[in-house]
Symmetry: C2
Subunit: 395 residues, 2 copies
């Protein structure tokens, strides 16, 4: 039966099976057939081909399928089938990581640069050299490199250009064209919050959440939006600038140059600025306080320091108010709060609830759940790796 399908249908089904294995990990043939909505015979034929080509392998399931049955044979991807170079650009840092065919992320390198001082040419040379060096050292043992995925802080326009970034002194840098030309590979460029939203939505747990907002707390305040099951970033990629929606017009100065943005109350630099107003903390880089400096404020809260507790409760209230506007405008099913700033979520939580209660009528509030998501550094990498794998045909 399967043999009579047109080639294109077979290719599509093959890609769908690979994608399901990427999301679910180890899956039995019969469950794959159910998920993909094809007959077990068709799926078995495709799997046989994928095993022959060494794209997937068989492994023993961890649990027996029935109490007295044999352990199920599970199918999983062969991670080394191909690799993807994942890059993250943030303030004063280029990070490079190796993505694999299973969507996982392995070896990572960090290059420290003076990102705001670079010209566009210097930036692209730095990133290109970092990729070339990294690839030479890390891609051995993997099949072909399928592409480059890059996640950036800032505003991506037209899928190619970094229009503006807090990491850069220059604007409107076409990132995709020079990398594609230098390496002869497809290049995916995304805002880091969008990339994280995609990585989160690709998890089994969030696969059925069609309207999902992922709010990133950290150096800035970002958001990635999944609406109707798809990434929503507007026609220009400029959507979801949650951090620059407003709490109050005459509020504190924001890095963007306006006053009263949510980011100017809740980001790391805002929390550190406010903490230093109340608490005697050593002065370092006001624009980019370190994880240690932020953790130190959290530690004070852990010790019951009322100034630190007040700081987080007030910031939480602003965040809750901002989420109230988000709920009024978009009413997502779920808001996940993540990013390094989630370190203080337990102290923000009360304020968030209060800000929501102050700003949103009950009828609108009942639908949207708000939850913290523990922060993992490689989420942005996973998102762009997933995007490259989704867009490039499997080898």
């Amino acid at each position: 039966m399967a043999r009579t399908e047109p080639d294109s249908t077979r290719r599509i089904n093959r890609e769908r099976i690979l994608r399901l294995l990427r999301i679910h990990g180890k899956v039995a043939r019969i469950d794959l057939a159910r998920m993909v909505g094809l007959s077990p015979a068709t799926v078995s034929a495709i799997i046989a081909e994928l095993i022959r080509d060494r794209r997937v392998g068989e492994v023993q399931g961890e649990e027996a399928s029935r109490a007295r049955g044999r352990p199920k044979v599970m199918i999983e991807l062969v991670a080394s089938t191909a690799c993807i170079i994942a890059v993250k650009l943030s303030i004063n840092e280029v990070q490079v990581a190796l993505g694999d065919f299973a969507g996982g992320v392995g070896a990572t390198e960090i290059i420290t640069i003076d990102s705001r001082a670079l010209t566009a040419g210097e930036l692209m040379a730095t990133i290109g050299d970092a990729i070339a060096d990294f690839r030479a050292r890390n891609a051995a043992g993997f099949g072909p490199c399928l592409g480059i995925g890059m996640a950036v802080q800032g505003l991506v326009r037209g899928a190619e250009t970094l229009a503006w970034s807090p990491a850069l002194g220059v604007r409107d840098v076409n990132i995709v064209r020079p990398l594609a030309a230098r390496f002869g590979l497809p290049v995916v460029l995304m805002n880091d919050a969008n990339s994280i939203a995609i990585a989160v939505r690709n998890r089994v747990r969030y696969q059925s959440v069609d309207n999902l907002a992922v709010v990133m707390l950290g150096a800035g305040v970002g958001m990635g939006l999944i609406l109707g099951g798809q990434l929503y970033d507007g026609s220009t990629g400029a959507a979801a600038e949650f951090g620059h929606s407003k709490f109050q017009l005459d509020g504190p100065l924001c890095m963007c140059g306006k006053r009263g943005c949510i980011e100017s109350y809740v980001s790391d630099y805002a929390l550190h600025r406010d903490a230093r107003t109340m608490i005697d903390l050593p002065a370092r880089n006001a624009q980019h306080p370190s994880e240690e400096e932020m953790q130190a404020i959290c530690d004070l809260a852990d010790d019951g320091d009322s100034r630190a507790l007040t700081l987080f409760e007030q910031a939480g209230r602003v965040l809750g108010y901002g989420l109230g506007n988000l709920i009024a405008l978009i009413s997502p099913d779920l808001v996940l709060v993540t990013g390094p700033g989630v370190r203080a979520y337990r102290y923000l939580d009360n304020g968030i609830r209060q800000g929501l209660a102050d700003s949103v009528v009950d009828t609108l509030l009942t639908h949207t759940r708000i939850e913290p998501l523990p922060w993992e550094e490689d989420l942005a990498f996973r998102g762009v790796v997933g995007q490259v794998l989704d867009r490039v045909p499997a080898p």
Copy 2:
């Protein structure tokens, strides 16, 4: 060739052609073929069938196709092929109108009720009787009635239930089930702002605007969102409550019971409340000032009354700030401001620009256009009529 297509494909193509005729009005066969992406022969065969069934007719085009050629023969829908009953529920009013097969709206009746005093049963009996009377008087001369489309102020849940409405004293009224049971017809229930957004997007001019926000100024402040070319109303229909996003937590009291919602500055009741603070105006219904009362304030602005001009400029500034948050979160391609409140747009405009400039960084502002759309009373009717026509197969 066309005869060998499977029935389902032919039915889909037929519906697509009917839909294009609904949007574009009179269209020549050759242009229809181009729009729908089918061969002229296939389209001609479908048109021949539609003419035979009296669903469409031929008319002379208004212009000659070439300077010396004959006038083009155009195809248009036969409006009387079928009818749709369209209903609008707002504060103290039920309006009923007759929609036709071409998506047009004809005869309209208004029934005045004490909407906030009704029980759910009384409400449904009133609406049902209004529909039955109206249909008996107006549907003669039309083919079958395809369905009932109802646009309501308030929050629609699960496509059947009016969860909350400023027009009602009761909550959670299932509107669809009793009407469907009484009339044996499909019933479409929508928030009025969503219905208006659909009607606007169905216009030729806005067909290619994929991310469109239609903001409604009037008794309240509503919004309908088209995102990625589709109506976006969240999983529950509760999205796009732009009027209840916030300007300032401690601002004026809003009808929703919270303070500082955009609606509490920009809606008719808010403008009238603020006008009466400065200007000696007769007291009437503070919650629902009439069109004449609102027009009177506009007339003062026309005469250069600085108090009226200040009123609108301040309201415009709040609206601009609210649109700034909308742009930060969604970055639509186009925001159309309409509703009865657009009567004062020329006086709001300056304030809107100022509010936007105060709240949004330039890089985010450049993409979104903001324009007034002259208000037409039957837009909400057109939206639900279009929805019924889209969902019910043509007779």
